[in-house]
Protein backbone atom coordinates (compact mmCIF):
# COMPACT_ATOMS: atom_id res chain seq x y z
CA UNK A 1 0.00 0.00 0.00
CA UNK A 2 2.87 2.33 0.80
CA UNK A 3 4.28 1.53 -2.64
CA UNK A 4 0.97 2.45 -4.20
CA UNK A 5 0.89 5.74 -2.38
CA UNK A 6 4.42 6.45 -3.52
CA UNK A 7 3.31 5.98 -7.13
CA UNK A 8 0.45 8.37 -6.60
CA UNK A 9 2.73 10.98 -5.01
CA UNK A 10 5.30 10.75 -7.77
CA UNK A 11 2.58 11.50 -10.29
CA UNK A 12 1.38 14.64 -8.56
CA UNK A 13 4.19 16.70 -9.98
CA UNK A 14 4.06 15.23 -13.47
CA UNK A 15 2.55 17.23 -16.29
CA UNK A 16 -0.69 15.88 -17.75
CA UNK A 17 -0.46 13.24 -20.43
CA UNK A 18 -3.67 14.27 -22.18
CA UNK A 19 -4.25 17.16 -24.56
CA UNK A 20 -7.53 19.02 -24.65
CA UNK A 21 -8.57 18.70 -28.25
CA UNK A 22 -10.01 21.85 -29.74
CA UNK A 23 -7.33 24.09 -28.24
CA UNK A 24 -4.37 21.76 -28.57
CA UNK A 25 -4.06 19.42 -31.47
CA UNK A 26 -2.35 16.10 -31.18
CA UNK A 27 0.72 15.52 -33.32
CA UNK A 28 -0.43 13.53 -36.27
CA UNK A 29 1.91 11.33 -38.21
CA UNK A 30 2.18 12.04 -41.96
CA UNK A 31 1.15 8.44 -42.61
CA UNK A 32 -2.15 8.95 -40.84
CA UNK A 33 -4.96 7.61 -43.03
CA UNK A 34 -7.43 10.46 -42.91
CA UNK A 35 -10.60 11.42 -44.65
CA UNK A 36 -11.00 13.71 -47.65
CA UNK A 37 -9.11 11.77 -50.28
CA UNK A 38 -6.59 13.72 -52.29
CA UNK A 39 -6.88 13.15 -56.01
CA UNK A 40 -4.71 14.49 -58.82
CA UNK A 41 -6.67 14.68 -62.02
CA UNK A 42 -3.53 15.19 -64.07
CA UNK A 43 -2.29 11.78 -62.99
CA UNK A 44 -5.56 9.88 -63.17
CA UNK A 45 -6.16 7.85 -66.29
CA UNK A 46 -9.62 6.72 -65.26
CA UNK A 47 -8.54 3.08 -65.08
CA UNK A 48 -10.83 2.49 -62.07
CA UNK A 49 -8.37 0.19 -60.31
CA UNK A 50 -9.32 1.91 -57.08
CA UNK A 51 -13.01 1.25 -57.64
CA UNK A 52 -12.31 -2.41 -58.37
CA UNK A 53 -10.09 -2.87 -55.38
CA UNK A 54 -12.31 -1.14 -52.83
CA UNK A 55 -13.65 -3.86 -50.49
CA UNK A 56 -16.95 -2.02 -50.15
CA UNK A 57 -17.31 -0.81 -53.71
CA UNK A 58 -18.00 2.78 -52.77
CA UNK A 59 -16.00 4.49 -55.51
CA UNK A 60 -17.99 5.28 -58.61
CA UNK A 61 -16.14 6.26 -61.76
CA UNK A 62 -17.68 7.19 -65.10
CA UNK A 63 -15.42 8.02 -68.00
CA UNK A 64 -15.82 8.88 -71.64
CA UNK A 65 -13.16 8.91 -74.34
CA UNK A 66 -11.47 12.26 -74.54
CA UNK A 67 -12.43 14.45 -77.54
CA UNK A 68 -8.81 15.10 -78.35
CA UNK A 69 -7.03 12.24 -79.98
CA UNK A 70 -7.15 9.17 -77.73
CA UNK A 71 -4.98 7.29 -80.20
CA UNK A 72 -2.12 9.65 -79.53
CA UNK A 73 -2.15 8.60 -75.94
CA UNK A 74 -4.63 11.04 -74.53
CA UNK A 75 -6.46 9.68 -71.57
CA UNK A 76 -10.09 9.24 -70.76
CA UNK A 77 -12.10 12.17 -69.53
CA UNK A 78 -13.51 11.66 -66.08
CA UNK A 79 -17.11 12.56 -65.61
CA UNK A 80 -17.84 11.07 -62.22
CA UNK A 81 -15.54 10.24 -59.36
CA UNK A 82 -17.78 9.77 -56.33
CA UNK A 83 -16.46 8.42 -53.07
CA UNK A 84 -19.18 7.53 -50.59
CA UNK A 85 -17.32 8.56 -47.51
CA UNK A 86 -20.09 7.54 -45.13
CA UNK A 87 -19.38 3.89 -45.88
CA UNK A 88 -15.63 4.19 -46.23
CA UNK A 89 -13.51 2.35 -43.66
CA UNK A 90 -10.24 4.05 -44.62
CA UNK A 91 -8.37 0.84 -45.27
CA UNK A 92 -6.44 2.54 -48.07
CA UNK A 93 -6.63 -0.35 -50.51
CA UNK A 94 -7.75 2.05 -53.27
CA UNK A 95 -4.57 4.03 -52.77
CA UNK A 96 -2.56 0.82 -52.84
CA UNK A 97 -4.24 -0.19 -56.10
CA UNK A 98 -3.61 3.10 -57.91
CA UNK A 99 -0.74 2.48 -60.33
CA UNK A 100 -0.31 6.12 -61.31
CA UNK A 101 -0.10 7.80 -57.89
CA UNK A 102 -3.25 9.74 -58.60
CA UNK A 103 -5.19 8.89 -55.45
CA UNK A 104 -3.92 9.55 -51.94
CA UNK A 105 -5.41 9.22 -48.51
CA UNK A 106 -6.31 12.57 -47.00
CA UNK A 107 -4.95 13.90 -43.76
CA UNK A 108 -8.01 15.42 -42.11
CA UNK A 109 -10.34 13.84 -39.59
CA UNK A 110 -13.03 16.43 -39.04
CA UNK A 111 -15.45 15.56 -41.80
CA UNK A 112 -18.70 15.96 -39.90
CA UNK A 113 -21.84 16.69 -41.88
CA UNK A 114 -25.51 17.01 -41.06
CA UNK A 115 -26.75 14.95 -43.99
CA UNK A 116 -25.45 11.66 -45.25
CA UNK A 117 -25.55 12.84 -48.83
CA UNK A 118 -23.10 15.60 -47.95
CA UNK A 119 -20.56 12.92 -47.10
CA UNK A 120 -20.29 11.77 -50.70
CA UNK A 121 -17.18 13.34 -52.14
CA UNK A 122 -17.86 14.39 -55.71
CA UNK A 123 -15.40 15.01 -58.48
CA UNK A 124 -15.76 18.78 -58.13
CA UNK A 125 -14.91 18.64 -54.47
CA UNK A 126 -11.91 16.47 -55.21
CA UNK A 127 -10.75 18.96 -57.83
CA UNK A 128 -11.12 21.99 -55.63
CA UNK A 129 -9.82 20.52 -52.40
CA UNK A 130 -6.49 21.60 -51.05
CA UNK A 131 -3.99 18.84 -51.73
CA UNK A 132 -2.61 17.67 -48.41
CA UNK A 133 -2.05 14.00 -49.13
CA UNK A 134 -1.13 11.44 -46.52
CA UNK A 135 2.17 9.64 -47.07
CA UNK A 136 0.45 6.28 -46.61
CA UNK A 137 1.76 3.76 -49.18
CA UNK A 138 3.60 6.59 -50.94
CA UNK A 139 7.24 6.15 -49.87
CA UNK A 140 8.37 8.89 -52.23
CA UNK A 141 6.71 11.48 -49.97
CA UNK A 142 8.41 10.19 -46.87
CA UNK A 143 11.93 11.36 -47.54
CA UNK A 144 11.01 14.93 -48.37
CA UNK A 145 10.24 16.27 -44.90
CA UNK A 146 6.65 16.78 -45.86
CA UNK A 147 3.96 17.16 -43.21
CA UNK A 148 0.34 17.21 -44.31
CA UNK A 149 -0.80 19.81 -41.81
CA UNK A 150 2.04 22.24 -42.37
CA UNK A 151 0.18 24.38 -44.88
CA UNK A 152 2.16 23.53 -48.00
CA UNK A 153 -0.10 21.68 -50.42
CA UNK A 154 1.61 19.43 -52.92
CA UNK A 155 1.20 19.76 -56.67
CA UNK A 156 0.88 16.80 -58.96
CA UNK A 157 4.45 17.07 -60.21
CA UNK A 158 5.83 16.56 -56.71
CA UNK A 159 3.98 13.46 -55.66
CA UNK A 160 4.81 10.78 -58.22
CA UNK A 161 7.33 7.98 -58.20
CA UNK A 162 8.27 8.14 -61.84
CA UNK A 163 11.12 5.70 -61.44
CA UNK A 164 8.75 2.93 -60.47
CA UNK A 165 8.28 -0.15 -62.58
CA UNK A 166 4.89 0.91 -63.83
CA UNK A 167 6.11 4.31 -64.88
CA UNK A 168 9.09 3.26 -66.90
CA UNK A 169 7.33 3.21 -70.23
CA UNK A 170 4.49 5.52 -69.57
CA UNK A 171 5.03 8.38 -67.23
CA UNK A 172 2.03 9.81 -65.51
CA UNK A 173 1.22 13.32 -66.62
CA UNK A 174 3.63 12.96 -69.50
CA UNK A 175 0.93 13.34 -72.07
CA UNK A 176 -0.19 16.59 -70.57
CA UNK A 177 3.28 18.07 -70.56
CA UNK A 178 3.37 18.93 -74.25
CA UNK A 179 0.74 21.12 -75.87
CA UNK A 180 -1.70 21.68 -73.07
CA UNK A 181 -0.91 24.26 -70.46
CA UNK A 182 -1.64 23.38 -66.89
CA UNK A 183 -1.18 25.84 -64.11
CA UNK A 184 -2.27 23.49 -61.40
CA UNK A 185 0.51 21.84 -59.56
CA UNK A 186 3.09 24.48 -60.29
CA UNK A 187 2.99 25.64 -56.69
Amino acid sequence: MVKGLAVTLSNLARKPFTTSYPEQRIRQHPRFRGEEFTWYEERCTGCASCAKYCPLGIIKIVTSPSETAPLQGDKYRLETFDIELQRCMFCGLCVEACPYDALFMGSGFEEGQYRRTDLVITIDRLRQAEKNPSTWFRPQLEGMEYRPGAGRPLGWREVGRENWRWHQHEKAGMRLAGGRNDNEGEA
Binding site: G4, R31, M89, S134, P139
Partner: protein, 368 residues
Protein backbone atom coordinates in the same frame (compact mmCIF):
# COMPACT_ATOMS: atom_id res chain seq x y z
CA UNK B 1 -34.75 -20.99 12.02
CA UNK B 2 -34.45 -20.91 8.26
CA UNK B 3 -35.97 -18.40 5.93
CA UNK B 4 -37.49 -19.79 2.78
CA UNK B 5 -35.94 -18.08 -0.28
CA UNK B 6 -36.68 -18.30 -3.94
CA UNK B 7 -34.02 -18.35 -6.64
CA UNK B 8 -33.87 -15.14 -8.61
CA UNK B 9 -32.88 -14.85 -12.27
CA UNK B 10 -30.98 -11.77 -13.31
CA UNK B 11 -30.06 -10.64 -16.78
CA UNK B 12 -26.62 -9.17 -17.02
CA UNK B 13 -26.21 -7.33 -20.27
CA UNK B 14 -26.28 -7.20 -23.22
CA UNK B 15 -25.70 -3.54 -22.49
CA UNK B 16 -23.86 -3.62 -19.24
CA UNK B 17 -20.84 -1.46 -18.53
CA UNK B 18 -18.65 -4.31 -17.41
CA UNK B 19 -19.37 -7.19 -19.76
CA UNK B 20 -16.74 -6.22 -22.34
CA UNK B 21 -19.17 -5.50 -25.12
CA UNK B 22 -22.64 -6.77 -25.83
CA UNK B 23 -22.34 -9.98 -23.85
CA UNK B 24 -25.45 -11.18 -22.09
CA UNK B 25 -25.47 -13.76 -19.37
CA UNK B 26 -28.55 -15.01 -17.59
CA UNK B 27 -27.71 -15.88 -14.01
CA UNK B 28 -29.87 -17.51 -11.38
CA UNK B 29 -29.00 -16.61 -7.82
CA UNK B 30 -29.88 -18.31 -4.59
CA UNK B 31 -29.46 -15.38 -2.28
CA UNK B 32 -26.01 -14.25 -3.23
CA UNK B 33 -24.77 -17.56 -4.63
CA UNK B 34 -24.78 -18.30 -8.32
CA UNK B 35 -26.61 -21.52 -9.11
CA UNK B 36 -27.14 -21.32 -12.84
CA UNK B 37 -25.34 -19.57 -15.65
CA UNK B 38 -26.42 -19.23 -19.25
CA UNK B 39 -24.45 -17.07 -21.64
CA UNK B 40 -26.46 -15.62 -24.54
CA UNK B 41 -24.39 -14.71 -27.56
CA UNK B 42 -24.90 -13.21 -30.95
CA UNK B 43 -25.59 -9.56 -30.35
CA UNK B 44 -22.60 -8.42 -32.37
CA UNK B 45 -22.82 -10.89 -35.21
CA UNK B 46 -21.71 -9.26 -38.44
CA UNK B 47 -21.21 -12.28 -40.66
CA UNK B 48 -17.48 -11.86 -41.09
CA UNK B 49 -17.00 -15.40 -42.36
CA UNK B 50 -19.65 -14.93 -45.02
CA UNK B 51 -18.37 -11.49 -45.98
CA UNK B 52 -14.93 -12.99 -46.48
CA UNK B 53 -16.33 -15.25 -49.18
CA UNK B 54 -17.08 -12.34 -51.45
CA UNK B 55 -13.88 -10.38 -51.04
CA UNK B 56 -10.55 -11.20 -52.56
CA UNK B 57 -7.71 -12.47 -50.44
CA UNK B 58 -6.19 -9.07 -49.72
CA UNK B 59 -9.48 -7.35 -49.02
CA UNK B 60 -10.30 -9.82 -46.25
CA UNK B 61 -7.41 -8.35 -44.22
CA UNK B 62 -9.59 -5.32 -43.52
CA UNK B 63 -12.27 -7.57 -42.05
CA UNK B 64 -9.87 -9.22 -39.65
CA UNK B 65 -9.11 -5.86 -38.02
CA UNK B 66 -12.64 -5.83 -36.76
CA UNK B 67 -12.65 -9.23 -35.08
CA UNK B 68 -10.76 -8.60 -31.91
CA UNK B 69 -10.43 -4.87 -32.12
CA UNK B 70 -7.99 -4.71 -29.24
CA UNK B 71 -5.47 -6.86 -31.10
CA UNK B 72 -5.95 -6.17 -34.78
CA UNK B 73 -2.30 -6.75 -35.67
CA UNK B 74 -2.41 -10.34 -34.45
CA UNK B 75 -5.62 -10.98 -36.39
CA UNK B 76 -3.93 -9.68 -39.53
CA UNK B 77 -1.03 -11.99 -38.86
CA UNK B 78 -3.19 -15.08 -38.40
CA UNK B 79 -5.07 -14.44 -41.61
CA UNK B 80 -1.95 -13.68 -43.64
CA UNK B 81 -0.29 -16.86 -42.39
CA UNK B 82 -3.30 -18.84 -43.54
CA UNK B 83 -3.22 -17.28 -47.01
CA UNK B 84 0.52 -17.84 -47.26
CA UNK B 85 0.04 -21.50 -46.42
CA UNK B 86 -2.69 -21.69 -49.03
CA UNK B 87 -0.45 -20.21 -51.71
CA UNK B 88 2.75 -21.83 -50.49
CA UNK B 89 4.71 -18.60 -50.19
CA UNK B 90 6.79 -17.07 -47.46
CA UNK B 91 7.42 -13.41 -46.66
CA UNK B 92 10.95 -11.98 -46.76
CA UNK B 93 12.86 -11.93 -43.45
CA UNK B 94 12.33 -8.23 -42.77
CA UNK B 95 8.63 -8.68 -43.31
CA UNK B 96 8.62 -11.53 -40.80
CA UNK B 97 10.42 -9.47 -38.19
CA UNK B 98 8.16 -6.47 -38.68
CA UNK B 99 5.15 -8.72 -38.22
CA UNK B 100 6.53 -10.25 -35.07
CA UNK B 101 7.38 -6.82 -33.72
CA UNK B 102 3.96 -5.40 -34.49
CA UNK B 103 2.21 -8.46 -33.06
CA UNK B 104 4.14 -8.28 -29.81
CA UNK B 105 3.48 -4.56 -29.42
CA UNK B 106 -0.18 -5.36 -29.97
CA UNK B 107 -0.03 -8.10 -27.37
CA UNK B 108 1.29 -5.59 -24.86
CA UNK B 109 -1.51 -3.16 -25.73
CA UNK B 110 -4.15 -5.88 -25.49
CA UNK B 111 -2.90 -7.18 -22.15
CA UNK B 112 -2.77 -3.65 -20.79
CA UNK B 113 -6.44 -3.29 -21.63
CA UNK B 114 -7.21 -6.66 -20.05
CA UNK B 115 -5.38 -5.78 -16.84
CA UNK B 116 -6.82 -2.28 -16.69
CA UNK B 117 -10.41 -3.41 -17.06
CA UNK B 118 -9.89 -6.36 -14.75
CA UNK B 119 -8.82 -4.01 -11.98
CA UNK B 120 -11.60 -1.62 -12.83
CA UNK B 121 -14.08 -4.42 -12.30
CA UNK B 122 -12.65 -4.96 -8.85
CA UNK B 123 -13.83 -1.48 -8.01
CA UNK B 124 -10.73 0.55 -8.73
CA UNK B 125 -12.53 2.94 -10.99
CA UNK B 126 -10.46 4.95 -13.37
CA UNK B 127 -7.00 5.24 -11.92
CA UNK B 128 -5.28 1.94 -12.84
CA UNK B 129 -7.13 1.93 -16.14
CA UNK B 130 -5.73 5.34 -16.96
CA UNK B 131 -2.23 4.15 -16.12
CA UNK B 132 -2.52 1.25 -18.52
CA UNK B 133 -4.22 3.34 -21.19
CA UNK B 134 -1.44 5.89 -21.03
CA UNK B 135 1.04 3.23 -22.08
CA UNK B 136 -1.32 1.72 -24.60
CA UNK B 137 -1.77 5.12 -26.19
CA UNK B 138 1.92 5.24 -27.00
CA UNK B 139 1.74 1.86 -28.71
CA UNK B 140 -1.19 3.08 -30.77
CA UNK B 141 0.87 6.12 -31.74
CA UNK B 142 3.58 3.75 -32.94
CA UNK B 143 0.97 1.91 -35.00
CA UNK B 144 -0.10 5.19 -36.52
CA UNK B 145 3.48 5.66 -37.64
CA UNK B 146 3.64 2.15 -39.05
CA UNK B 147 0.38 2.04 -40.89
CA UNK B 148 -1.59 5.23 -40.52
CA UNK B 149 -4.27 3.90 -38.21
CA UNK B 150 -4.49 3.08 -34.55
CA UNK B 151 -7.11 0.34 -34.27
CA UNK B 152 -8.13 -0.79 -37.75
CA UNK B 153 -4.56 -1.22 -38.81
CA UNK B 154 -4.72 -3.41 -41.98
CA UNK B 155 -0.95 -3.51 -41.71
CA UNK B 156 -0.10 -6.97 -42.94
CA UNK B 157 -0.67 -8.43 -46.34
CA UNK B 158 -0.27 -11.97 -47.62
CA UNK B 159 3.46 -12.06 -48.34
CA UNK B 160 4.69 -9.54 -45.79
CA UNK B 161 3.58 -6.15 -44.60
CA UNK B 162 2.22 -3.40 -46.81
CA UNK B 163 5.23 -1.09 -46.67
CA UNK B 164 8.47 -0.46 -44.86
CA UNK B 165 8.66 1.59 -41.68
CA UNK B 166 8.87 5.37 -41.89
CA UNK B 167 12.27 6.81 -40.90
CA UNK B 168 11.06 8.24 -37.60
CA UNK B 169 9.62 4.93 -36.38
CA UNK B 170 12.79 3.41 -34.94
CA UNK B 171 13.76 6.36 -32.71
CA UNK B 172 10.19 6.52 -31.46
CA UNK B 173 10.19 2.78 -30.73
CA UNK B 174 13.47 3.10 -28.82
CA UNK B 175 12.06 5.89 -26.74
CA UNK B 176 8.94 3.88 -26.02
CA UNK B 177 10.94 0.81 -24.97
CA UNK B 178 13.05 2.87 -22.61
CA UNK B 179 10.17 4.67 -20.98
CA UNK B 180 7.70 1.80 -20.93
CA UNK B 181 9.94 -0.18 -18.59
CA UNK B 182 9.40 2.44 -15.90
CA UNK B 183 5.71 2.75 -16.61
CA UNK B 184 5.27 -1.00 -16.32
CA UNK B 185 7.08 -1.00 -13.00
CA UNK B 186 4.75 1.73 -11.83
CA UNK B 187 1.68 -0.25 -12.78
CA UNK B 188 3.07 -3.37 -11.11
CA UNK B 189 3.88 -1.47 -7.92
CA UNK B 190 0.42 -0.05 -7.91
CA UNK B 191 -1.34 -3.37 -8.41
CA UNK B 192 0.76 -6.29 -7.19
CA UNK B 193 1.25 -4.80 -3.73
CA UNK B 194 -2.39 -3.90 -3.31
CA UNK B 195 -3.98 -5.85 -0.50
CA UNK B 196 -7.54 -5.47 -1.72
CA UNK B 197 -6.61 -6.89 -5.09
CA UNK B 198 -4.92 -9.88 -3.48
CA UNK B 199 -7.85 -10.69 -1.22
CA UNK B 200 -10.42 -10.26 -3.95
CA UNK B 201 -8.61 -12.39 -6.55
CA UNK B 202 -6.49 -15.07 -4.82
CA UNK B 203 -8.27 -18.39 -4.79
CA UNK B 204 -11.37 -17.00 -6.45
CA UNK B 205 -12.85 -19.00 -9.35
CA UNK B 206 -10.01 -21.47 -9.80
CA UNK B 207 -9.92 -23.44 -13.03
CA UNK B 208 -8.24 -26.85 -12.77
CA UNK B 209 -5.93 -27.79 -15.60
CA UNK B 210 -7.98 -30.81 -16.72
CA UNK B 211 -11.16 -28.75 -16.97
CA UNK B 212 -9.29 -26.09 -18.92
CA UNK B 213 -8.01 -28.68 -21.38
CA UNK B 214 -11.41 -30.35 -21.71
CA UNK B 215 -13.01 -27.02 -22.49
CA UNK B 216 -10.22 -26.46 -25.05
CA UNK B 217 -9.45 -22.99 -23.75
CA UNK B 218 -6.18 -21.43 -24.80
CA UNK B 219 -4.01 -18.44 -24.17
CA UNK B 220 -3.35 -16.83 -20.79
CA UNK B 221 -6.41 -18.53 -19.29
CA UNK B 222 -4.96 -21.96 -20.04
CA UNK B 223 -1.46 -21.03 -18.96
CA UNK B 224 -2.76 -19.62 -15.67
CA UNK B 225 -4.08 -23.11 -14.91
CA UNK B 226 -0.56 -24.48 -15.13
CA UNK B 227 -0.51 -25.82 -18.67
CA UNK B 228 2.57 -24.81 -20.61
CA UNK B 229 1.04 -24.33 -24.05
CA UNK B 230 1.92 -21.56 -26.44
CA UNK B 231 1.82 -21.76 -30.23
CA UNK B 232 4.73 -19.37 -30.48
CA UNK B 233 6.89 -22.11 -28.94
CA UNK B 234 5.19 -25.24 -30.19
CA UNK B 235 4.88 -24.29 -33.86
CA UNK B 236 6.88 -21.08 -34.32
CA UNK B 237 5.66 -18.84 -37.10
CA UNK B 238 7.16 -15.67 -38.54
CA UNK B 239 10.27 -14.78 -36.56
CA UNK B 240 9.42 -16.47 -33.28
CA UNK B 241 12.00 -19.20 -33.82
CA UNK B 242 14.69 -16.52 -33.87
CA UNK B 243 13.88 -14.91 -30.54
CA UNK B 244 14.11 -16.11 -26.98
CA UNK B 245 11.33 -15.79 -24.49
CA UNK B 246 9.80 -17.63 -21.58
CA UNK B 247 6.22 -18.68 -21.11
CA UNK B 248 4.85 -17.58 -17.75
CA UNK B 249 2.72 -20.32 -16.22
CA UNK B 250 0.38 -19.96 -13.26
CA UNK B 251 -0.43 -22.54 -10.58
CA UNK B 252 -4.03 -22.52 -9.46
CA UNK B 253 -5.80 -20.92 -12.39
CA UNK B 254 -7.58 -18.47 -10.12
CA UNK B 255 -8.32 -14.87 -10.99
CA UNK B 256 -5.00 -13.73 -9.60
CA UNK B 257 -3.05 -16.18 -11.75
CA UNK B 258 -4.82 -15.07 -14.90
CA UNK B 259 -3.99 -11.49 -14.04
CA UNK B 260 -0.42 -12.35 -13.11
CA UNK B 261 0.22 -14.33 -16.29
CA UNK B 262 -0.83 -11.33 -18.37
CA UNK B 263 1.45 -8.99 -16.47
CA UNK B 264 4.36 -11.38 -17.00
CA UNK B 265 3.56 -11.81 -20.68
CA UNK B 266 3.86 -8.08 -21.15
CA UNK B 267 7.44 -8.36 -19.92
CA UNK B 268 8.17 -11.26 -22.25
CA UNK B 269 6.67 -9.40 -25.18
CA UNK B 270 8.91 -6.49 -24.37
CA UNK B 271 11.85 -8.89 -24.52
CA UNK B 272 10.78 -10.14 -27.94
CA UNK B 273 10.40 -6.60 -29.25
CA UNK B 274 13.90 -5.71 -28.08
CA UNK B 275 15.34 -8.78 -29.80
CA UNK B 276 13.46 -7.97 -32.99
CA UNK B 277 14.88 -4.47 -32.98
CA UNK B 278 18.37 -5.86 -32.52
CA UNK B 279 18.07 -8.58 -35.17
CA UNK B 280 16.13 -6.87 -37.92
CA UNK B 281 18.04 -6.17 -41.12
CA UNK B 282 17.25 -3.98 -44.09
CA UNK B 283 15.59 -5.58 -47.07
CA UNK B 284 12.27 -5.94 -48.77
CA UNK B 285 9.21 -6.31 -46.63
CA UNK B 286 6.75 -7.75 -49.10
CA UNK B 287 6.81 -10.50 -51.69
CA UNK B 288 5.99 -9.37 -55.21
CA UNK B 289 2.59 -10.86 -55.79
CA UNK B 290 -0.22 -10.03 -58.17
CA UNK B 291 -2.84 -7.68 -56.81
CA UNK B 292 -5.51 -10.36 -57.05
CA UNK B 293 -4.36 -13.67 -55.62
CA UNK B 294 -5.61 -17.05 -56.70
CA UNK B 295 -5.06 -20.39 -55.00
CA UNK B 296 -5.30 -23.85 -56.49
CA UNK B 297 -8.80 -25.33 -56.52
CA UNK B 298 -9.44 -27.50 -53.49
CA UNK B 299 -6.51 -26.15 -51.54
CA UNK B 300 -6.99 -25.90 -47.79
CA UNK B 301 -4.97 -24.15 -45.15
CA UNK B 302 -5.21 -23.52 -41.45
CA UNK B 303 -3.11 -20.65 -40.16
CA UNK B 304 -2.91 -20.19 -36.43
CA UNK B 305 -1.22 -17.80 -34.09
CA UNK B 306 -1.06 -17.33 -30.38
CA UNK B 307 -3.21 -14.24 -30.13
CA UNK B 308 -3.41 -12.19 -26.98
CA UNK B 309 -6.50 -14.13 -25.92
CA UNK B 310 -5.55 -17.61 -27.12
CA UNK B 311 -5.29 -19.62 -30.28
CA UNK B 312 -6.64 -17.68 -33.23
CA UNK B 313 -7.00 -19.71 -36.39
CA UNK B 314 -8.21 -19.09 -39.90
CA UNK B 315 -9.27 -22.07 -41.95
CA UNK B 316 -9.41 -21.25 -45.64
CA UNK B 317 -10.69 -23.36 -48.49
CA UNK B 318 -10.14 -22.31 -52.07
CA UNK B 319 -12.15 -23.20 -55.15
CA UNK B 320 -9.67 -21.58 -57.50
CA UNK B 321 -11.44 -18.24 -57.49
CA UNK B 322 -10.23 -14.87 -56.35
CA UNK B 323 -11.85 -15.13 -52.94
CA UNK B 324 -11.90 -17.88 -50.33
CA UNK B 325 -14.60 -20.50 -50.82
CA UNK B 326 -14.88 -20.84 -47.07
CA UNK B 327 -13.27 -18.91 -44.27
CA UNK B 328 -13.72 -20.35 -40.81
CA UNK B 329 -12.46 -18.38 -37.88
CA UNK B 330 -11.49 -20.17 -34.71
CA UNK B 331 -11.70 -17.33 -32.25
CA UNK B 332 -10.18 -17.75 -28.80
CA UNK B 333 -12.72 -15.56 -27.01
CA UNK B 334 -15.65 -17.74 -28.05
CA UNK B 335 -13.97 -20.96 -26.98
CA UNK B 336 -12.77 -19.39 -23.75
CA UNK B 337 -16.37 -18.56 -22.88
CA UNK B 338 -17.10 -22.27 -22.47
CA UNK B 339 -15.57 -22.13 -19.01
CA UNK B 340 -18.06 -19.49 -17.82
CA UNK B 341 -20.06 -22.04 -15.89
CA UNK B 342 -17.00 -23.58 -14.24
CA UNK B 343 -15.83 -20.16 -13.15
CA UNK B 344 -19.07 -18.80 -11.80
CA UNK B 345 -21.04 -21.69 -10.29
CA UNK B 346 -21.02 -21.57 -6.53
CA UNK B 347 -19.36 -18.18 -6.31
CA UNK B 348 -20.90 -14.98 -5.11
CA UNK B 349 -22.47 -12.15 -7.02
CA UNK B 350 -19.60 -9.82 -6.18
CA UNK B 351 -17.05 -12.10 -7.89
CA UNK B 352 -19.11 -12.67 -11.01
CA UNK B 353 -17.97 -9.68 -13.03
CA UNK B 354 -14.39 -10.06 -11.86
CA UNK B 355 -14.24 -13.68 -12.99
CA UNK B 356 -15.78 -12.81 -16.33
CA UNK B 357 -13.27 -10.01 -16.71
CA UNK B 358 -10.35 -12.29 -15.89
CA UNK B 359 -11.13 -14.41 -18.97
CA UNK B 360 -10.71 -11.27 -21.10
CA UNK B 361 -13.25 -11.85 -23.81
CA UNK B 362 -13.82 -9.54 -26.72
CA UNK B 363 -17.27 -9.59 -28.23
CA UNK B 364 -16.08 -8.54 -31.66
CA UNK B 365 -14.39 -11.91 -31.79
CA UNK B 366 -17.00 -13.99 -29.99
CA UNK B 367 -19.79 -13.15 -32.40
CA UNK B 368 -17.71 -12.38 -35.49
Amino acid sequence: MTIRTEPMTVNVGPQHPSTHGVFRVRITFDGEDIVEVEPVLGYLHRGTEKLAEERNYVQVVTLTDRLDYTSSMINNQAYCLAVEQLLGIEPPPRGKYLRTLAAELQRIASHLIAVGFFVQELGAFGTPLMYTFRSRERILDLFEMLCGARITVSYMRPGGVFADTPPDFWPALDQFLNEFEGELEEIENLLLSNEILMVRTRGVSPLPADVAINCSVSGPVLRASGVNWDWRKIAPYDAYDQVEFDIPVGENGDNYDRFWVRMQEVRQSLRIVRQCVAQIEPGTVRRELPMVLRAAPGAEAYGRVEASKGELGFFLVSDGGVSPYRCKIRSPSLINLTITEHLLLGWKLADMIVSLGSVDINMGEVDR
